[in-house]
Symmetry: C2
């Protein structure tokens, strides 16, 4: 199980829209939405692009939650 803070980080980073963030990391808006809503966890490649764009670290953005 994994939780993420990308919605928070996206807002913090100058109120980026899902679309704007998607453009910057070269993915679709729906992909951003799906990640934010916990529908799926991205590849480490996309996670790195997100953390780079949002000026933070993967560890800060994504956290392992115990219990399976």
């Amino acid at each position: 199980m994994i939780i993420n803070k990308i919605k928070l980080a996206r807002i913090a980073k100058g109120d980026l829209t899902q679309q704007q963030l998607a453009d910057k990391v070269s993915c679709s808006r729906q992909t951003i939405h799906s990640i934010e809503s916990g529908k799926f966890v991205p590849s480490v490649e996309l996670a790195l692009r997100l953390s780079r764009e949002l000026e933070t670290t993967v560890e800060e953005l994504f956290k392992l939650e115990e219990e399976k």
Copy 2:
């Protein structure tokens, strides 16, 4: 494009075998091998488990390489 140092980190971390590392992060040996040989890039979830087990960070273990 992405490159990783998990083979290096695995050796550094007390000469773990692929199988031992796989067990510790709950995946198959072939998954470790495929990642080490660049055949595929893992999910951020597995990347986090790997970095935790190898006592390093995702950013240290996986690096974005430019050019596509």
